[in-house]
């Protein structure tokens, strides 16, 4: 879930009520498979690629994408896969409660690497801006790319994904929940 959506769900806000399932488990698998291939195609393999999942929603997708990439490249290849919590870098830190949720773990120095940021839902783009900031503390990547399962629009910053599982037009009052089991669109009820 994108950060802004997370704050409306427990423990912060109301309860997410799913209305429509827009992707099934099989669709998620196929999209993950396709995105892994696209990442390899764009970067001519997986050399010097580092997959970084954003805590907490993007971690499962990062793990799955990395697993598929290792499968394609052969078992001898080692693909660094890390996690990043961007709480300390957000621009709304003073506006609302913000505690980091899970530890950051970047297994390698990022100098000269191609970093693929992975998140579940891309919405305003503010989480990604914070993630770009956070990556600076770990070195100077050669390039940064962005992979998301769902792009739901309503961007507030000039940020665009490189690899998308599904483009999903939404209203701002709707909410999207993406997990390994599927993608649901619904509302938050107080």
């Amino acid at each position: 879930m994108a950060e802004r959506e997370r704050r409306r769900t427990p423990p912060y806000g109301g309860v997410f009520v799913a209305r429509t399932r827009v992707m099934q488990e099989e669709d998620i698998k196929r999209a993950t498979w396709r995105m892994a291939h696209e990442i390899m195609e764009r970067n001519h393999g997986s050399d010097q690629v580092v997959i970084v999942g954003l805590q907490t929603g993007g971690v499962w997708l990062a793990e799955d994408i990395a697993a598929v990439m290792v499968e394609i490249a052969g078992s001898g290849c080692s693909l660094p896969c890390g996690t990043l919590d961007v709480a300390f870098y957000r621009d709304d830190i003073s506006l609302r409660p913000l505690l980091p949720e899970a530890p950051t773990h970047i297994p390698v120095n990022l100098d000269g690497q191609v970093v693929v940021i992975v998140d579940d839902v891309l919405y305003t783009g503010r989480t990604i801006r914070a993630a770009l900031d956070a990556l600076n503390s770990y070195g100077r990547p050669r390039a940064v790319q962005l992979a998301v399962m769902v792009d739901r629009g309503h961007r507030e910053l000039p940020i665009r994904p490189d690899f998308v599982g599904k483009n999903l037009p939404t209203r701002q009052d709707e909410m999207v929940n993406a997990t390994r089991q599927g993608v649901d669109i619904g509302e938050v009820c107080k």
Partner: protein
């Protein structure tokens, strides 16, 4: 959490939150660039009316790693030496737009008074004999890091308990986290009304050493002692010092801790200070993470529990 004035302000849940945040900040401190923009635009005033090395530098490092601005203040170079009152000094610093004040003073209760006077967050960095809450937090964090948990550990606090604010804060925190605490000290250096404290008291150092998990040495605070409470430092060392011989009686894995500064050779023998289970430097390192967590909770994550 608005202020951190005493360990009493913290529930066990609050302490656990500080510790888990400190885990995050320990990771931040290990990055190639150990700085996050979490408190950008906030100003923290360091008001040290009493001398300090590690607490002041640790708070400064913590504030800077969170990108806060730091205003430093020391008595000898400020208008306090011209006779400006505490209240006016606080009012002046508030008027300059600080968001938090870190206060150390030789009199107990000054941080509470400062908190009552101003509307900024106040952190107690040591007031007289009273409390030093961030020291207690970092000590619990160090024990948790080394031994896994504070609960059910047997902690011996050794030395000048009477004049020690560290001991008062540590006892509260250790007991809140379910540790068993034994005070070992000469009778003249035990606090008044020690029987009301939730601790054991022993005068037999050698017998408690063999079954404790942590020995927490305290500094002999000659600057606070107004009467002749000790015959001499040499006699103190002979009876109450952690000598090499006594350190050899400690169980395997038992930690030696001290809030610093150490009187080398008085409370702890120099050879004991160099042992791998003597964790003074880890305490200092964890101090930065703990103080980052405290400042972040006070200034960055206000209202996070709601």
């Amino acid at each position: 959490m608005r202020h951190l004035l005493s360990v009493d302000d913290l529930s066990v849940q609050d302490m656990e939150r500080v510790f888990s945040l400190s885990d995050h900040f320990t990771e931040v401190s290990q990055r190639p660039i150990p700085k996050v923009p979490a408190l950008r635009g906030k100003t923290v005033a360091m008001m040290f009316f009493e001398d300090s090395t590690r607490t002041r530098l640790s708070f400064e490092a913590a504030a800077r790693r969170l990108s806060a601005d730091v205003m430093c203040f020391s008595v000898s170079t400020s208008a306090v030496s011209k006779g400006e009152s505490l209240r006016d000094t606080v009012a002046t610093l508030s008027a300059m737009g600080t968001h938090a004040m870190v206060v150390r003073h030789r009199s107990a209760g000054v941080p509470q008074q400062v908190a009552a006077w101003s509307d900024v967050s106040v952190v107690n960095a040591g007031d007289g004999w009273h409390e030093h809450p961030t020291q207690a937090l970092l000590d619990c964090y160090t024990i948790r890091d080394r031994l896994g948990t504070v609960a059910d550990r047997h902690i011996v606090i050794l030395g000048d308990v009477k004049h020690s604010r560290v001991a008062r804060s540590c006892v509260k925190a250790f007991v809140a986290l379910d540790a068993k605490v034994t005070l070992v000290a000469p009778a003249t250096l035990l606090p008044p009304a020690v029987e009301t404290w939730p601790v054991d008291v022993s005068f037999e150092l050698d017998s408690v050493l063999s079954d404790c998990d942590v020995v927490y040495g305290l500094r002999v605070q000659t600057e606070r002692q107004t009467q002749a409470l000790l015959p001499s430092l040499r006699e103190y060392t002979a009876q109450w010092g952690l000598t090499v011989q006594r350190a050899n009686c400690l169980g395997v894995g038992a930690l030696v801790m001290h809030p610093g500064p150490v009187n080398r050779g008085v409370e702890i023998a120099p050879e004991v200070l160099d042992r791998p289970n003597t964790v003074l430097n880890e305490q200092v390192r964890h101090g930065v993470s703990i103080r980052m967590a405290v400042l972040y909770l006070l200034l960055g994550a206000e209202g996070a529990e709601s």
